[in-house]
C-alpha cells in the first residue's frame, strides 16, 4: 500500500523558533511536494522536489526552505516561525517526472505558531 507519513500530526511552536516538518514516502516516488491548506484558499504549493537535492519554488515559498537529501525524505523548514504560518501542512508524492500523476498525500501536520 502506498504510504506517505509526516512526523507530527499536531505541533505548537513559538514565534521565532526554527521548525522542521518531516515527510517520508515508501513508494520510491521521484516527486515530492509541500502544500499548506488554509480555509477559503485551498491547497497552495510551497515547494516541490523532483529528485534528490533538487527543488523548485512553488506559489508561496517565502519564509520556508526545504531539504531532500534522500529520495524518500522531504523536509520543510520554517527558519523563523511567524503567526501567519499557522496552518495545515500537507506533504505529497507522485511517481514520475514529466507526467501528470496522481499525488499521494500524507495525513497532514496542524502547526500552530503562538
Amino acid at each position: 500500500d502506498v504510504k506517505v507519513t509526516q512526523s507530527s500530526r499536531y505541533l505548537v511552536k513559538r514565534t521565532g523558533e526554527k521548525v522542521f516538518l518531516e515527510c517520508v514516502q515508501d513508494m520510491d516516488h521521484e516527486n515530492m511536494f509541500w502544500y499548506r491548506q488554509d480555509p477559503g484558499l485551498g491547497l497552495r504549493l510551497i515547494y516541490f522536489s523532483y529528485d534528490v537535492k533538487m527543488k523548485e519554488k512553488g506559489d508561496i515559498p517565502e519564509g520556508y526552505s526545504v531539504s531532500r537529501e534522500k529520495k524518500e525524505r522531504f523536509s520543510l523548514i520554517l527558519e523563523s516561525a511567524s503567526t501567519n504560518q499557522t496552518s495545515m501542512y500537507l506533504c505529497a508524492s507522485s511517481p514520475h517526472r514529466d507526467s501528470y500523476n496522481e499525488q499521494f498525500f500524507g495525513p497532514g501536520t496542524r502547526l500552530t505558531v503562538l
Partner: protein, 113 residues
C-alpha cells in the same frame, strides 16, 4: 499557467439525492483533471480523474463530466451517502510537461441524513 476555480464553498444535499460539485478552469491546453476528497484531520485522497479525450468518466457512484467548450467539469455523486461529507478539491496540471497540480479552493459537501 492554469487556474482552477470552485465557486461554491459549501453544498448541502439530502441523503440519497444527487450531489453536483462544479469546477472551472482557464487553460484549455491541458487535458487531464482530477478530483480529491478530504476529511478533517486527514490528507486528501484521489477520487477520480478524466482525460480530455473523454467527456465522462464513471467509477461506481462517482461520475465526472468534462465540458471542454465551457472549460468546466463537474463531479456527480449519486446516491449521496453520509460518508460523502467531506471537502472536495478539483485539480489540473499547472503547466506542460510538469508534475505540479493546481488545486481549486474546495467545496465542503454536507450530506443530511
Amino acid at each position: 499557467d492554469q487556474q482552477v476555480k470552485q465557486n461554491s464553498p459549501s453544498l448541502s444535499v439530502q441523503e440519497g439525492r444527487i450531489s453536483i460539485l462544479n469546477c472551472d478552469y482557464t487553460n484549455s491546453m491541458f487535458d487531464y483533471f482530477l478530483w480529491y476528497k478530504k476529511y478533517p484531520a486527514e490528507g486528501p485522497t484521489f477520487l477520480i480523474s478524466i482525460s480530455s479525450i473523454k467527456d465522462k468518466n464513471e467509477d461506481g457512484r462517482f461520475t465526472v463530466f468534462l465540458n471542454k467548450s465551457a472549460k468546466h467539469l463537474s463531479l456527480h455523486i449519486v446516491p449521496s451517502q453520509p460518508g460523502d461529507s467531506a471537502v472536495y478539491f478539483c485539480a489540473a496540471p499547472t503547466n506542460f510537461g510538469n508534475e505540479k497540480l493546481t488545486f481549486g479552493t474546495g467545496t465542503r459537501l454536507t450530506i443530511i441524513p
